[in-house]
């Protein structure tokens, strides 16, 4: 029987453009980890294990030694590397949960690095995520992968460019109030539609920036959490699912693997009506239409009806289920940090400590992350106050 595990500390750093970053990467790590340990009221010596999440290639050092200076060294803790592409932070969180729930450790830390802060041309690495023999040669980066789904979604359900812009506008509006966000200009629906087409049917402001920031989360066993925290956030369930590497199997109609995963976790947590029972969610949306497909895969609405939730304000601050009140990955994407931020932001919302648009007294929250070659990995964490 797994032990109860709580999130007791979350640390974030201010996001900036990766191109104008002036902090050295271990300084960024230090800021995030320091903030998380302060909130958790632990020292580095209290941490039994650290999960370091990043993507090979982005930092130019395979063992990521530069950043490792910032944790674990003085306390001689084991450091475990986790790499599932963009999902990395959420995968690291899942592993940390397993270690604490199993009783092997009492306090674990997950660190999501500022993946974009070093590499000159990140698209080159994203392109290497594609199967090299058959897919890499065709000008495919993360954007094109997202656009394949978007084009097909328009074809299947009659979704429009306006639907994607509405989803983007909701995020930009929220990010403008989030002191940690990168894009904080609050671009309007009209400004988004007037922004240049980058990869049909996606426009510049419907595509995430390359940000630099980092985040850390500290998890603890029930006993330690009650001792250390007045606002522990309990982990109800964490899960992940894997799709094929070769994307030829995808039909590009919705996020089917995510649907399978969500149904499994809802069964495990006894959630019957996610839209009503979940109070706050952070969904991984580096491209604005992702949020719509995630609503559908997570059972918030029927297939093809995602944009109706946005039009009706259901997922805005005054709606039934506020989603991405951080501004989402769309407005801040520092790579791995972005997948961990989803969980961190939900935890902060449940603690009542979110510094942007704080949802009123949420009890249950859901965080989602997506990554690898074209959604090869999906991860969900369901948390409760």
């Amino acid at each position: 029987m797994p032990r109860k595990v709580a999130v007791i500390g979350v640390g974030n750093t201010q996001a900036v453009s990766a191109f104008s970053e002036t902090r050295e990467i271990s300084q960024i790590a230090f800021s995030a980890i320091y903030a998380a340990t302060k909130m958790a009221k632990v020292s580095m010596h209290d941490i039994d294990i650290t999960f370091f999440c990043t993507v090979d290639g982005f930092e130019g050092t395979n063992r990521l030694d530069r950043t490792m200076n910032s944790f674990g060294q003085s306390s001689h803790n084991p450091v475990v590397m986790v790499n599932t592409g963009g999902t990395g932070g959420a995968s690291g969180f899942k592993e940390a949960y397993h270690y604490v729930a199993s009783g092997f450790c009492d306090v674990a830390m997950v660190y999501g690095n500022s993946t974009g802060a070093s590499v000159v041309n990140g698209q080159q690495i994203l392109n290497t995520a594609s199967p090299p023999l058959f897919e890499k040669p065709f000008g495919i980066g993360a954007l094109q992968m997202a656009a394949f789904y978007a084009t097909r979604y328009m074809h299947e359900y009659g979704a429009t460019e306006e639907d994607f812009a509405l989803a983007a506008a909701k995020n930009h509006k929220a990010a403008a109030k989030n002191p940690y966000a990168h894009f904080r200009k609050g671009y309007s629906f009209e400004q988004i539609l007037a922004s240049p087409m980058i990869g049909w049917p996606l426009r510049r402001y419907e595509i995430c920036p390359i940000s630099s920031c980092a985040s850390a989360i500290i998890l603890a066993s029930e006993e330690r959490a009650k001792e250390l925290s007045d606002t522990p956030v309990w982990i109800m369930a964490v899960g992940s699912i894997t799709d094929t590497f070769q994307t030829g199997y995808r039909d590009y109609i919705g996020f089917k693997q995510l649907r399978t995963l969500s149904e499994k976790l809802y069964r495990a947590t006894g959630i019957n009506n996610p839209l009503k029972e979940i109070d706050v969610a952070e969904l991984f949306n580096p491209f604005s239409p992702f949020e719509l497909w995630e609503y559908e895969a997570l059972g918030f609405c029927d297939e093809g009806k995602g944009s109706q939730l946005i039009r009706d304000g259901v997922t805005d601050i005054d709606g039934e289920l506020p989603v991405n009140m951080s501004g989402g990955t769309l407005c801040t994407n520092a790579g791995i940090s972005a997948s961990l931020n989803r969980i961190g932001d939900v935890a902060l919302q449940l603690m009542g400590k979110f510094e942007g648009i704080q949802v009123r007294s949420p009890r249950i929250g859901l965080a989602h992350a997506w990554g690898g070659n074209l959604g090869q990995f999906n991860s969900i964490a369901i948390l409760a106050r």
């Binding site: 002036t22 290639g57 130019g60 050092t61 000159v120 041309n121 698209q123 080159q124 392109n127 090299p132 023999l133 058959f134 897919e135 040669p137 065709f138 000008g139 495919i140 980066g141 954007l143 094109q144 656009a147 394949f148 789904y149 978007a150 084009t151 097909r152 074809h155 240049p196 087409m197 980058i198 990869g199 049909w200 049917p201 094929t244 070769q246 994307t247 030829g248 199997y249 995808r250 039909d251 590009y252």
Partner: protein, 152 residues
């Protein structure tokens, strides 16, 4: 203190991988302007490109067949922005299902008017039938097909 300094370094790695007997046969077929596929004896799924094993049934080997090289566009995107080390825009990349394949293939779409870039999204359609345009010099590579074009 003056401006924060930047330092450059790089990580250049080259790779050479064996493609194995299955992909070698597929590439040899491309040299002859043939699209070779394989078929799982257990579930009858046809794979283009061929698979070393059926990863749904998890069995090998698969039976070889030559397929009709025309395909149907499943979805597509048009890249308008110049990304370093990716092709010059605009270009159309499509996901194409060849003949009766269980999986799709990615490739460029050509043989359409590129001189009005903003109208490209009208020139390509999901469900459109396309055929390969072969390169004159074929080396046994997926790019032996220069691109797919709308079939007559």
């Amino acid at each position: 203190m003056g401006n924060i300094m930047k330092k450059e370094y790089s990580w250049k790695l080259d790779y050479s991988v064996s493609v194995g007997d299955v992909y070698t046969r597929f590439y040899e077929g491309l040299k002859e302007k043939k699209i070779l596929a394989n078929k799982c004896a257990q579930c009858n799924r046809v794979y283009v490109p061929p698979r070393p094993f059926c990863d749904i049934c998890f069995v090998e080997p698969l039976e070889w067949i030559e397929v009709n090289p025309t395909g149907i566009i499943q979805t597509y995107t048009i890249t308008y922005f110049k990304f370093e080390n990716l092709p010059d825009p605009p270009y159309v990349t499509a996901v194409i299902k060849i003949d009766n394949s269980a999986t799709s293939l990615m490739h460029f779409i050509g043989g359409i008017q590129y001189n009005e870039p903003n109208e490209l999204s009208e020139k390509v359609k999901i469900g459109m039938r396309v055929e390969p345009v072969w390169s004159d010099e074929r080396t046994g590579d997926i790019l032996d097909i220069k691109y797919f074009r709308p079939s007559k």
